[in-house]
């Protein structure tokens, strides 16, 4: 294997038969190129999907309500179910060990003005725990605190984009922002990790303040919570089911009513995405393997052709004393060498393309396509094996060439 002479023979043979080496190599290089690009693209999709939700805690649950779709417990269908403050308390009391953070949420449109600059945003009323559920990053000042909540203070934590929109030279922190005609004191500025720009066009305010402004209500639009981060997928899904059942019982909703109480678990979503992308991964491996197989068959064909072309040479070598295994080695090593070299070139080329364009691609559905070391290693092993397979049958055939047949001048 590491005999210098045989490699010299192989290089010689390759050098003097450039076209056939190119043809052999091209099919493999192409197959590997496609395989790596496919796997890279699947990674890109995965990165795209997961990156979109990077700003939210993965262990979060969102609860919303609607109208009943089924008559139940003496009520007719189409009854509106309203979440209220006491639902929040009820949930945290029912699952004291399982709930990590919980907040009511109320969303309103916000016509906003600072001096002469105006804009329309969303005002989101929350309690202080929302900070941890939304993974909000405070860059200046502070978030809503318990004191604000207690005093129903008109304070606001605003997104970076709003600062950019409305504040020219002035410092936003400590200023008064007019929201729907009422002045709110800006106590904090935040940033979001996710790619959703609109997230930074949000104004956070204490839930108590908003409920007071909007008619002394205790209604909320939504409840967000995070659960014990140690839950696995089954436990997480089981937990959302428990919450759903609890709320349905509390609001007298039929157990099979899908519309009235809706519990959305991110774990479910992430599991769906990862199922989807791993399914895509499997698909691309299968497609890649088929392409590779076609490449291997192609090499096999070319090798058979090469042996035909080299029959005379092989006959001469045998007449000069080449043993069958020496012929096998010669043909096989050439095939493996060509396959591996070509494969590496294909892999290198694909990796370079991914490395060059990957980081520049950043869309919600597709981001930073790339391949891992393990993918590359797997591909390498596949290459060597396919090189051996492609060369094996033709080389055994070559070794069995009868010298007299090969040397006959006919």
């Amino acid at each position: 294997m590491f005999d210098r002479d045989i490699w010299q023979e192989i290089f010689h043979s390759i050098k003097n038969n450039k076209l056939r080496t190119f043809l052999t190599g091209f099919s493999v290089a192409w197959a590997i190129f496609i395989l790596v690009m496919l796997l890279g693209s699947v990674n890109g999709m995965k990165n795209g999907f997961t990156g979109q939700f990077a700003d939210d805690a993965n262990n979060s649950i969102i609860i919303r309500t609607g109208s009943t779709s089924i008559a139940y417990a003496g009520f007719e269908a189409d009854r509106r179910i309203q979440l209220r403050n006491d639902d929040v308390e009820y949930i945290s009391k029912s699952f004291p060990k399982d709930v990590e953070y919980i907040t009511p949420i109320m969303n309103k449109g916000a016509s906003t003005r600072y001096k002469s600059e105006t804009g329309s945003y969303t005002i989101r009323a929350v309690n202080p725990e929302h900070l941890f559920i939304d993974k909000t990053k405070i860059t200046e000042g502070r978030y809503i605190n318990d004191n604000d909540l207690y005093k129903s203070a008109k304070v606001a934590v605003i997104g970076k984009r709003i600062v950019e929109d409305l504040y020219k030279k002035d410092s936003a922190l400590g200023s008064f922002l007019e929201v729907n005609g009422l002045p709110f004191k800006v106590v904090g500025i935040f940033e979001e990790d996710g790619r959703d720009d609109n997230a930074e066009r949000t104004i956070f305010a204490p839930i108590t303040t908003m409920q007071r402004i909007y008619g002394q209500t205790d209604e909320v639009n939504q409840i967000s919570l995070t659960y014990n981060p140690n839950f696995d997928l089954t436990e997480a899904l089981n937990f959302s089911e428990r919450i759903e059942n609890l709320l349905k019982r509390r609001h007298k909703v039929a157990p099979d009513d899908q519309a009235a109480v809706r519990v959305f678990n991110y774990a479910q979503f992430f599991s769906d995405i990862s199922n989807f992308t791993s399914g895509m991964g499997m698909m691309s491996i299968i497609v890649g393997a088929l392409i590779l197989l076609a490449g291997v068959v192609g090499i096999g064909n070319i090798m058979v052709f090469i042996i035909k072309e080299r029959t005379k040479e092989i006959g001469v070598r045998k007449a000069l004393g080449a043993k069958p295994w020496q012929i096998i080695k010669l043909v096989l090593l050439e095939s493996v060498f060509t396959t591996v070299l070509a494969g590496f070139l294909g892999m290198l080329f694909a990796s370079l393309i991914l490395a060059a364009i990957g980081p520049n691609i950043d869309t919600p559905a597709f981001s930073n396509p790339s391949v891992s070391i393990s993918t590359v290693l797997t591909a390498t092993i596949i290459l060597v094996v396919s090189g051996v397979l492609a060369g094996l049958i033709p080389s055994i055939k070559a070794a069995n060439v009868k010298p007299i047949v090969a040397l006959s001048d006919k």
Partner: protein, 233 residues
């Protein structure tokens, strides 16, 4: 050196069988230069191929330098060919992408001679056939006579016990043919055993013995007065 007894060989062609060698008996001593003559299709090449272990006989005995040649595995046959035999063919059979020197060195490679020694030895044999200046040329850059001389150098480089030449001059004009025969005679003068298959009278008479083959048997086997090729060159 060579001893064959009652050698038979037939080729199967579908349902027919062509009986080519029908009981050949002959012996070749060390240092002989034997011409095997006969018309085309008389079985000369078949005999030479069996002697060269490139093909097997159907029946009969064959002993080469005291070693019985029978039921050889491919590997063993390759080993014996490499150790005992040198081949020269009508169509030269040089490897076209290797230089003259590399062609000559090839049997030494299969003898596992270290590369440096291999190169030196190959060069030495090329020099003996007068082609040292052509060492790095490809076969395509050589004339027919030169190619055959490279082939002879290659056959001799392995220092075989017997040199087998199948119509070595068959593809050459007469002047070149005599040059090649001159070379073969000189190699024989050094004590090497050589068998030359030919159907040309003049070439046969440059050997020391003529074995005449007809219809698969030896019809004549005589020692002759050797005509030196050197006088025509």
């Amino acid at each position: 050196m060579i001893e064959i007894k009652d050698l038979h060989k037939s080729y199967k062609m579908g349902s027919n069988s062509l009986h080519v060698l029908k009981g050949i008996n002959f012996t070749v001593e060390d240092g002989e230069l034997v011409a095997i003559m006969g018309s085309s299709g008389s079985g000369k090449s078949t005999l030479l191929n069996i002697l060269g272990m490139l093909d097997g006989a159907d029946s009969g005995e064959y002993t080469l330098d005291g070693v019985p040649i029978k039921n050889l595995s491919e590997t063993k046959a390759a080993e014996y060919r490499n150790k005992f035999l040198g081949f020269v063919f009508q169509s030269f059979n040089l490897i076209n992408y290797k230089s003259a020197l590399e062609n000559v060195a090839l049997p030494l490679y299969y003898q596992k001679v270290p590369r440096k020694e291999r190169q030196e030895k190959a060069m030495q044999y090329l020099d003996r056939v007068g082609l040292k200046p052509w060492a790095n040329h490809l076969p395509s850059e050589l004339s027919g006579g030169q190619k055959q001389r490279v082939a002879i150098a290659r056959a001799m480089a392995a220092e075989p016990k017997v040199l087998l030449a199948d119509e070595p001059t068959g593809a050459l004009d007469s002047t070149t043919s005599y040059e090649v025969m001159d070379l073969i005679q000189k190699i024989n003068d050094d004590g090497n055993t050589i068998l030359v298959v030919t159907h040309e009278e003049d070439i046969a008479h440059m050997c020391k013995r003529i074995v005449h083959l007809k219809d698969g048997i030896i019809v004549e086997d005589k020692k002759i007065e050797q005509v030196r090729a050197g006088q025509y060159v």
